[in-house]
Subunit: 211 residues, 2 copies
DNA sequence: TTGTATCGAGACTTGTAGTCTCGTCAAGGA
DNA sequence: TCCTTGACGAGACTACAAGTCTCGATACAA
């Protein structure tokens, strides 16, 4: 794992940042315009006015380009609301997740990306870590809620996380049902108990102690 | 849509049922043994001792072969318990769904199949209808529960269905958390209210009337 | 000016789905 | 029995996409 860069500074022509940007832009555009058919490297390079080798000089695989394009525009902003109320935090997180995937022009892009990930090991791995940060944030949010007594001590946080992301991906990929604010609200209430939304209730007071 | 078969009975050699079976068996075996790499038609035909054209004489695409192989061995048996208790019915349905996908040797096969479906329109469509029958059964089960008052009238049945299948597919495909009986139980309780599992409780009595 | 690394361009290799062709084989009809 | 018909195994072939390789041109620094 020697780094030759440390020995000799750099000679020769520098990498072209403009080409880098053009590739990302083309990738994102093609991804957005895709009707489900996979986006090809040839198409990306051609529309970016760039040689294929240039693409592979910056990224190791097609999947890496596509994911980078999407991340680049979506930003790495993970919502992490902290209003003091678990219910409000959760509602905000779910709403932001739903909105984030739908409002941007990247919805079809993200769908295409998932399809590509099914065959691209490199992309699948990168996506997993991308998703993991969001899962971790959500889990922290739930942990706060459990510590404050808004969730019972024996609540299965992983199951709650999976119910949220399960519903999200399931509806996002199949598109058979909406991912709107109403759905976010109902999902929140379903997970925290929908009969007493926001209202304190004796039978549900915080419990300290192992079940 | 004329049926020439009605005019002239049939002449020539008949289709070989043995070849048909051999293809399905080979497909299923390769699917089961697959480590994630896609199963090729060449491999199926070769291990079945059959020409590629014979495969395409029976099925329109690779995906059709794979799905048929899986359906053939899994059977079309959709669990539909009716014990009189929604909670028990739901628990049984979820447990059966979890078990069905995992206990058989078809778990890796099903995972591979989903990956293939990402690129095969024909397969994706067939799979959608396959899944739809299961969704419908689950929805009927929930409707029974709502009619009997075990679910409130304003319960979002579609959301419950999606929570169940969302968690199922999410965990099945990612494999980061178990799909065991404990998980099925917790999911059931989460959806019906986990604080009073099986016990009648005044504050949660069935409510008739729109919210 | 010269050495070096990147550039655009495109030929090339590899792998796979699906088609086409060929000689063979089985089944029914004449 | 022989002939027609259509399925059979085998494999060549086409189409297409990922990724590699090569080439002459170009930009930057010593």
């Amino acid at each position: 794992m020697t780094q030759p860069r440390a020995e000799r500074p750099h000679t020769g022509r520098r990498r072209n940042e403009a080409a880098h940007r053009a590739i990302l832009d083309s990738a994102l555009r093609l991804l957005s315009e895709s009707d489900g058919t996979p986006v090809t490297i040839d198409a990306i390079a051609r529309t970016a006015g760039v040689g294929k080798q240039t693409v592979y000089r910056w990224w190791p695989s097609k999947g890496a380009v596509l994911l980078d394009a999407l991340v680049d525009q979506a930003g790495q902003v993970v919502p992490d609301p902290d209003t003091g109320s678990l219910r409000e935090d959760l509602r905000a997180f779910i709403t932001a997740t739903f909105d984030g995937a739908q409002s941007t022009p990247s919805a079809p892009a993200l769908r295409t990306l998932v399809r590509e990930a099914a065959h691209d090991v490199h992309l699948a791995e990168t996506m997993r870590t991308f998703i993991a940060t969001r899962r971790a944030t959500l889990r922290d949010l739930l942990t706060r809620g459990r510590d404050s007594g808004e969730l019972p001590d024996d609540a299965d946080l992983d199951l709650i996380v999976d119910q949220i992301y399960g519903v999200f991906w399931y509806r996002f990929l199949l598109g058979h049902a909406p991912l709107d604010h109403a759905a976010a609200d109902r999902l929140t209430d379903s997970l925290l108990g929908d009969r007493n939304a926001g209202m304190p209730q004796p039978g549900r007071a915080p419990r300290y102690g192992q079940s």
